[in-house]
Amino acid sequence: MSGDSFTFTIDGVEVTATPGQTIMEAADAAGIYIPRLCDVEGLRHQGGCRVCTVKASGRSAAACTQPAAPDLVVDNETDHLNTMRRHLVEMLFQEGNHLCPVCEASGNCELQAMAYRLEMVEPFRFPGLEPCRPVDASHPDIALDTNRCISCGRCIRASADVDGKGIFGYVGRGIHRRVAVNGSDLAHTDADINDHAVSRQVCPVGCIIRKREGFSIPIGEREYDHGLIGDEGDSE
């Protein structure tokens, strides 16, 4: 540890952090899982989905962007926070067309896995918007089904920061804000199947589809069929 490291607590457990680290970075380093959707290792933080909301000394904050501070008291796994997170995930489900039985990402989907973790089972509180969004299958190796997009922006950051291409970007405002491609369709961009932005770990849902790979792992044997999202970290 560097000399200026400090400690704070998450759910009563003492965690060490260095200046500049966010609450989530310090938690990950300590093996404590904070639920998240728009944040993924290797990309800059966005603080968009708010599923990682924690109570930092009583105030709600996105753990992925809130800097850790000495003696901060962070609440993470509380009923109140998990209920609020479940409502957020429910709203993401109701905003798009998330038909798990017909989605090839089912079992590998972080949104679905988060719904399992947060026990999203009751009748939905919110009416489904059932939007009519286009499918872009123009590219020979990649397809986009934007019905499943949760606008997390991971593909945007991966394409801009890692691939240096900027294939994806946000368009629109408020509820109309969507992820769009920088061209008339995906075939008219310089998207490539080897881009980090279209790799499996970037899109948390089934929006970015790598063609001819969907069912190489059968339903029932996929990543989150074996355990809850986040619990992999506990065993490390």
Partner: protein, 189 residues
């Protein structure tokens, strides 16, 4: 109340594929123990078409895509103490609900019927009309989850739900001890 009365269960498949009813059979030999505690009233499993009495548990597979589904679901609500939506179609519409949001369409039901009966290159339809016989139940504008039509007491997720989750839930309900699902058992596929 007599304690040796068997609990009465009714089941129905609305806009579903009968996969959830097949999943009920996935309880395998546990069905024998279950049948010692329950008897089936109206159900496709015994081909009873009408309720013979009030039921303790009603199990509904599939959502509502036509007026007959709505009528049947309302009848189940009237005749069952606890109404259970079984599987994703009953919970959120499932596969049939794909017709609610067809790309670029302002009239998805019309487009769906046109594709099925008129415009598809694989269609052989000599009359070139969409079937409209009066005995056919009227299709609804969209496919509705059960909870948008009647009050649903419990939803068992899955497509189809596993025999385990159905068995455990039914036993817990019969014992009056249902406390929710284990989150590790939840599946939407």
């Amino acid at each position: 109340m007599s304690t040796d009365r068997k609990a009465r269960i009714a089941t129905v498949s609305l806009a579903g594929c009968f996969g959830c009813h097949m999943a009920i059979l996935d309880m395998d030999e546990r069905l024998i123990d279950l049948m010692a505690r329950v008897e089936f009233d109206r159900s496709p499993l015994n081909d009873l078409k009408r309720f013979t009495g009030r039921c303790d548990i009603g199990i509904v597979e599939g959502g509502c895509c036509n007026e007959e589904n709505v009528h049947t679901l309302q009848e189940f609500r009237r005749n069952c103490d606890v109404l259970v939506a079984l599987g994703q179609c009953a919970i959120m519409g499932g596969l049939p609900a794909m017709r609610n949001a067809i790309m670029h369409s302002d009239d998805p039901l019309r487009d769906c019927l046109d594709e099925a009966y008129l415009s598809s290159p694989y269609t052989r339809n000599l009359t070139n009309t969409v079937p409209n016989d009066p005995v056919l139940p009227l299709l609804l504008d969209r496919v509705y989850p059960c909870s948008e039509v009647v009050e649903i007491d419990l939803q068992i997720p899955g497509c189809a739900p596993s025999g385990d989750i159905i068995h455990d839930t039914l036993i817990a309900l019969l014992d009056g001890k249902f406390r929710g699902f284990e989150r590790t058992e939840l599946r939407f596929d």
